[in-house]
Symmetry: C2
Subunit: 252 residues, 2 copies
């Protein structure tokens, strides 16, 4: 797909942290959710990485990604156990101190008073927040995420991550929203590939992707997806694709 042009690009990367994703034990549900969510906000998700619970891997990925994008979102590794090392890694990546944060201690203590759990060393781990970070509130289970520089640290459990994303969304810079149209080609991808490439070249500000799928009725079929931030340019490209697929189908 050729890149669409915009003067208002806001980009993001996602860093998924957790051995359980790499072993296949847990199937990630956050990548697709966050991708769709950011796209709807006009933020371009440009890159995703999944790494295990290893400090050097996490710190290296954080530093690579935060230098390149408006925002870096992370999921996972902020629970109470020894394998939850995300907060430490973020502090290390930024070169700042990390300690128990009084705001986080207060939030967690209040929740524990309600639910009857006791504060202990493990739970205190969840109050360790890098110096200078804002808290990201967690309506589901209280233990907060945080936002430091351009890095937004969220839980790995999907319901908690989603609540945290709703919490930060109103404060995110957003770009011009990407508009999208889909043309169902009713022919095979290989039948339209050549003329579709010509249309893509003639419409450089529209990102055109081609996605084969299996249609119960017709057999192999293709969706052409067009994306642009300018409605007129999008419509022009869509019309060109619609006329092209008509011609191709007539010739088959």
């Amino acid at each position: 797909m050729t890149a669409a042009n915009s003067g208002h690009l806001v980009t993001a990367a996602l860093l998924v942290i957790g051995d359980e994703i790499l072993s296949g034990r847990t199937k990630d549900k956050n990548i697709g959710y966050i991708a769709e969510y950011l796209t709807a906000l006009g933020i371009d998700l440009k890159e995703v990485r999944v790494v295990g619970d290893e400090e050097s891997e996490i710190v290296t990925a954080l530093n690579a990604l935060r230098a390149r994008h408006t925002y870096v979102f992370t999921t996972g590794g902020i629970g109470p156990t020894h394998d939850d090392i995300t907060a430490e890694c973020v502090a290390k990546a930024f070169g700042v101190a990390i300690d128990h944060d009084p705001r986080a201690v207060k939030i967690l203590s209040e929740r524990l008073a309600q639910t009857g759990g006791e504060m202990n060393e493990a739970r205190m781990r969840m109050t360790r927040i890098p110096a200078g970070a804002d808290l990201v509130h967690n309506k589901v289970s209280a233990a907060p995420g945080f936002w430091l520089g351009n890095v937004i640290v969220m839980a790995g459990v999907p319901t908690i991550m989603q609540a945290m994303l709703d919490e930060v969304a109103p404060r995110l810079k957003t770009g011009v929203r990407m508009l999208s149209e889909t043309v169902r080609a009713d022919c095979r991808e290989g039948d339209i590939g050549t003329p579709l490439g010509e249309i893509a070249k003639a419409h450089p500000e529209v990102a055109i992707g081609s996605y084969p799928f299996f249609d119960e009725k017709r057999g192999p079929n293709t969706n052409v997806v067009l994306r642009a931030r300018d409605q007129a340019k999008l419509t022009a490209a869509k019309t060109a694709v619609e006329e092209m697929v008509k011609r191709v189908r007539a010739a088959l």
Copy 2:
């Protein structure tokens, strides 16, 4: 999780290629499948990256990953349209030529003769294979993937990717298989975090992860997952975790 030790480590990275994953339009199903598949073979998936259909992104990721791992698997970008640029990017990363491969042309021509499609410029794109690569056969839709150096290039469509993985699996070097045990703690993650950390420290060759989940009956609950390549070490750590959770539950 602390890394488990083995003299027989075979590692892999996965590079998922496609704008449609980053926009959220298509929800990736390959990461979890490949993670589980490689784990069962004794191959450690160490890193996953998702990048868009942009040459510089793909080439950079390929070169970073292939230098670090026994194998790099890629999914996506080998179809017949202008946005399918994976084969070109692999050739570029390796600094080798790319051209229509007579073996691939033969396979595709035979399939088209059966299905009644015609060979054209777009379909010929799918026969472009970097010099020196072996083909990876595709029982589903014929157009092959390929294997060059330590990089294995597969389709993005899950059914086709899965067939290709079955095709290459018998030829992969595999490590000692990771063994795994799960202990259901029947208490909250924060209740066991401190003693679990001590067990993890005392059993450095067993990777211990802690995964909270919501139990309809009990409310917040935790699975402790232990992984090791040595059965005796795994059993010793599992026993330690079982005794610990009994003690913690008795004290609650």
